[in-house]
């Protein structure tokens, strides 16, 4: 498996945010996108996820096991954005079971809700309304989503936001396991995120 981006240019509101950016990642590699605020880190991730159109260039992910040959890039990627996509009216379990059914309708869940939440140290809160969780707990619920359905490309936008040091260790552990299983990670961050083996891509000039 291989993720290759060639000559990517992306516009936001008539302004070119990403200009002719290229990179290639092999299975088991991570790309850490850094850069100052407004450099286009989130824009790049959203474009790879298929949520934004490309002004020029192409992104290509070689066919991956367990998916149709013509499966699009967006249905093979896990997008973890700034918002945690947890409904306050539903419990943690209901939220996660919904996303597992919707994002992994072709495959059986890789982990049950209980397993994923135990991993993230949230099993106590499984039947609590997601509206009552703290920001860090909600973030961990969003991370549990990545464990429940298997998708080869993880697009993580500031994944460490609101996480405490234990949860951060757990995130790094999950990332390591995903890479060891032949997955690919593209993470946007402005604080150091030690995911190995990782390449770096700096957007927006500067040192």
């Amino acid at each position: 498996m291989r993720l290759r981006a060639e000559g990517l240019s992306i516009d936001r509101g008539g302004r070119r945010v990403i200009r002719a950016t290229s990179f290639a990642l092999e299975a088991g590699e991570a790309l850490l996108v850094t850069g100052p605020n407004g450099a286009g880190k989130s824009t790049l991730l959203r474009a790879i996820a298929g949520l934004l159109p490309l002004a020029a260039g192409s992104v290509h992910l070689a066919p991956s096991a367990g998916f149709d040959r013509d499966a699009s890039l967006s249905e093979r990627s896990h997008y973890l954005g700034h918002a945690d996509a947890a409904k306050a009216a539903l419990s943690v379990r209901e939220n996660l079971e919904f996303w597992a059914a919707l994002l992994g309708s072709r495959n059986r869940p890789a982990h049950s809700v209980e397993e994923a939440l135990t991993r993230l140290d949230l099993s106590r809160l499984i039947d609590v309304s997601a509206g009552l969780l703290s920001a860090g707990q909600r973030r961990r619920v969003a991370l549990a989503r990545l464990l429940m359905t298997k998708r080869p490309l993880w697009l993580l936008d500031e994944p460490q936001n609101a996480l405490d040091s234990r949860a951060l260790d757990c995130l790094l552990d999950m990332a390591k396991e995903h890479l060891a299983g032949g997955g690919i990670i593209v993470a946007a961050t402005h604080t150091p995120l030690p995911i190995e083996p990782g390449r770096a891509l700096r957007l927006g000039g500067g040192p």
Partner: protein
Amino acid sequence: MRSALAALFVREVKIAGRIGGGATVGLVFFLILVTIVPFGIGPERQLLARIGPSILWIAALLATLLGLDRLFQADDEDGSLDLLMTSEVPLEILVAVKCCAHWIMTGLPLVLASPFFGALLAIEPPGLAGVGLSLLIGTPALTFLGAIGAALLVSLRRGGLLMAVLILPFTIPVLIFGVATASDLSGPEGPGFQPLMVLAALTLIAAVTGTFAAAAALRVLLR
């Protein structure tokens, strides 16, 4: 794919049914509109019975649009819409499922309550059946038309009133044939079915165009 659609349907129904979901608010709003009219025009039974079906239809129209602006906005705010787009299920089908769930939770209660509320307006039993049937066939069209407005205003905060302004003109044909269906079904020369056919056609057209137009609008606007 079927399990994904079932999961989306169950989620929508649960959210609408819980506190703040808005399933019951539409029904109460419907009741208030229907009870307010006799205060405005006076308690003359014959007049009320004559304009009763129209009042029920206008009330149903407003009650359906109430809260429909949140159909996609709530999912946009918490990031759910981004994730829905990375599902392998096409967005058009997801939109259709969301509309169906919304109609079951807001439109269907109006249909079921309309005979009771119609009795408040002194409509005779045959007329009540006609109004109920016309609402059953016609209100899905209102939901699907409203979905277009909800999608167009997805990123606009407090777009509820703007949505009503945008969508109400397009609901006029549904309103005309809905009221005509209700009166023709209980007409003095036996039931007439022509307006009913047109109303059913309008609902089918709205279901198709609403689904595709709303999905297209979401794709463009979420960039």
